[in-house]
């Protein structure tokens, strides 16, 4: 499974691209596979102030709805209209075209509390049913 090394990860399966101005956020390949067919994405309004760990978006399949938590605190500065129009983009390219929103971090050091690709790999391996 793809887990790009340049990104940081949360226990709730979001990824974030560390950046001072526009840290892009999406869901991981693992989350996308668990969800199966994404049918709807609800994104936060631009300018919304969010705190680390707060639910800010929702990604839905036919039979499940997953809250997406802000990996870091900050302001929502961009949202990806492509995923609201064609939610399947999240399945096709979760680390690229299927990004969800971008945050301008207010506490840049928070990113250091997140997992590296190695740590995240270990997490999902341990979560696999034996």
């Amino acid at each position: 499974m793809q887990i790009p090394p340049a990104l940081r990860y949360t226990k709730t399966h979001e990824w974030i691209f560390p950046d001072e101005h526009e840290a892009m956020v999406g869901i991981t390949a693992h989350a996308q596979e668990e969800l199966r067919d994404v049918v709807y994405v609800e994104l936060p309004p631009l300018g919304k102030q969010v705190n680390q760990g707060e639910p800010v978006a929702v990604v839905e399949s036919v039979k499940a709805a997953f809250d997406i938590y802000a990996p870091v605190s900050g302001t929502i500065v961009k949202t990806n209209a492509a995923v609201t129009q064609s939610p399947q983009v999240v399945n096709k390219d979760c680390y690229g075209e299927g990004w969800l929103f971008a945050i301008q971090p207010s506490r840049p050091s928070e990113v250091n509390t997140l997992m590296t690709a190695d740590a995240y790999t270990k997490l999902i391996t341990s979560e696999q049913p034996s």
């Binding site: 067919d37 049918v39 709807y40 839905e60 036919v62 039979k63 939610p87 399947q88 049913p129």
Partner: protein, 490 residues
């Protein structure tokens, strides 16, 4: 055949004929001012009587139902619905009654409702009942509003409801809608409430524990007396979701277990027809200390007469425009009077016998995750089929080909690939046997021909429905410009 009634419409065709106005005619402009008048008529179908009869008769034949198929939908108690009850409920002197009819013209109905309350009190061991909630979930809401009112009256502000992780989704939803926070209780290794976990969660912020007994795994909470005592020690009430009351009929009374409030689902336990989704009825029973908070109005007996009583200073108010789903209540009353005390107990016992029999017939094929003796339903896990690339959903679809409605799938959430099976007491041993054989056959097919299951059903009017398309591109009403999808292969 899936042509819509709108597509069969022919401009100018008529069905029903109304009588002509038999009084003096007034022109429309004398009746209503022009600014209030509708400018475009609704685009309803234009059809003859036979068009309508044939359309809805044929559509009905595209349904599975209790009358036509075994319907082992867990937690829904899809038992036989006696025809007698439908017949009596349709009598004009029950059906054509205005809710504000003078009480003197409704004494028979009022007596029936009063006696039904008494019967439900006796069956459940509760002190008083309201018949007003229109369904189980509205009963939960009513109960939880009463929990809030009870604590408020004691000048206590308790904001948390404890709910086991195996609970029906309506429980946490009702708690939120009543303004409570939900705290989930993890089930123990036996699938039951963990006393230590409960003790740890109880505090003076907990308003109530909301449990289901037997729970959604079909297991009786053996420690129920300790559970209710522990809650009461902490000043918390115990709300019981009575959706699974069928298992306890004539065998045990929630009131004797220390339960403070419960709702019954009359469309489950008391055999009123499910109607393709409703109407149901969700009466709520309470202990003596909660009676003042019941919704108004209440039916009272004064001497030999029955009347409505609108008073209730501490009542939570109304939850229904009138007195609840009376048409459903009439059926439940008849059902209870038909069964009587022996019939109720035989019903409870037979429901348990059928569930245990079916479980025994399946236990060697599918693991039963919690070992205890089940009551009216049980849950098996279909994880062994994962290795063949087959899911519980595929098995559910394949069962339809065998002429069985599917059990409840993927619930409760505490079991992976769950299949929740509730046969009910009205099914014969032969039917259970045929169902067990079908499931065993399907397990075999999963190994030999998994693709058959993944593409199932094959024998129904339509094959696997595309739920993803339905959710991505919602089409929830027809419009005349809509092009019909080709139906030739049907």
């Amino acid at each position: 055949m899936s042509e819509l009634i709108f597509e069969k419409s022919v401009p100018g065709r008529r069905g029903y004929r109304l009588p002509a106005h038999d009084g003096p005619q007034r022109p429309l402009r004398d009746l209503l001012p022009a600014e209030h008048l509708r400018r475009q008529p609704p685009r309803l179908p234009e059809a003859s009587e036979l068009d309508v009869v044939r359309h809805y008769t044929r559509l009905s034949q595209r349904n599975f139902s209790v009358d036509t198929h075994f319907y082992p939908l867990g937690s829904c108690t899809m038992k036989y619905n006696p025809k007698l009850n439908d017949r009596i409920a349709s009598w004009s002197r029950f059906a054509d009654m205005h809710p504000l009819h003078p009480a003197s013209c409704a004494q028979g109905l009022l007596r029936l409702l009063y006696e039904l309350e008494q019967l439900l009190c006796e069956i459940t061991g509760m002190h008083a009942f309201t018949l007003q909630p229109a369904a189980g979930a509205q009963g939960e809401l009513t109960g939880l509003k009463m929990v809030r009112a009870y604590h408020r009256a004691k000048r206590q502000d308790r904001s948390t409801i404890l709910i086991p992780d195996s609970a029906h989704g309506t429980n946490p939803a009702s708690a939120s809608l009543s303004g409570f926070q939900v705290m989930e209780l993890k089930s123990n290794a036996h699938g039951l409430i963990d006393l230590a976990e409960l003790r740890g969660r109880l505090s003076n912020d907990v308003a109530a524990l909301m449990l289901t007994n037997p729970n959604t795994l079909g297991l009786f909470e053996r420690d129920i007396l300790a559970i209710t005592a522990l809650c009461h020690e902490h000043g918390a009430l115990v709300y019981m979701d009575g959706a699974n009351m069928n298992a306890l009929l004539g065998l045990a009374k929630p009131g004797d277990m220390g339960v403070d409030l419960l709702q019954l689902n009359l469309h489950k336990t008391f055999s009123t027809p499910h109607g393709g989704g409703g109407p149901g009825a969700g009466p709520v029973g309470v202990s003596r200390s909660l009676e003042p908070f019941l919704p108004v109005p209440r039916v009272r007996k004064t001497g030999k007469r029955f009347v409505w009583d609108e008073r209730g200073r501490r009542s939570i108010g109304r939850v229904h425009a009138f007195y609840g789903n009376v048409g459903v209540l009439v059926r439940a009353y008849i059902y209870i009077r038909t069964l009587g005390r022996e019939g109720l107990e035989r019903t409870g016992r037979a429901a348990i016998l059928n569930a245990n029999y079916l479980k025994a017939r399946l236990a060697d094929v599918f693991p039963v995750p919690f070992a205890g003796r089940c009551l009216h339903e049980f849950v098996v896990s279909l994880t062994p089929l994962k290795a063949c690339g087959v899911t519980a959903w595929d098995v559910a679809k394949r069962l339809l080909d065998y002429g069985f409605y599917a059990p409840t799938v993927y619930f409760p959430l505490v079991v992976d690939e769950a299949f929740m099976i509730e046969p009910t007491e009205t099914e014969s041993r032969e039917t259970l046997e045929a169902f067990a054989n079908a499931l065993r056959g399907i397990a075999q097919e999963a190994r030999t021909n998994p693709e058959l299951l993944r593409r199932a059903p094959h024998q129904l009017p339509v094959n696997r429905v595309d739920d993803v398309k339905a959710a991505r591109e919602p089409n929830v009403r027809w419009t005349p410009s809509q092009v019909p999808v080709s139906n030739t292969s049907g």
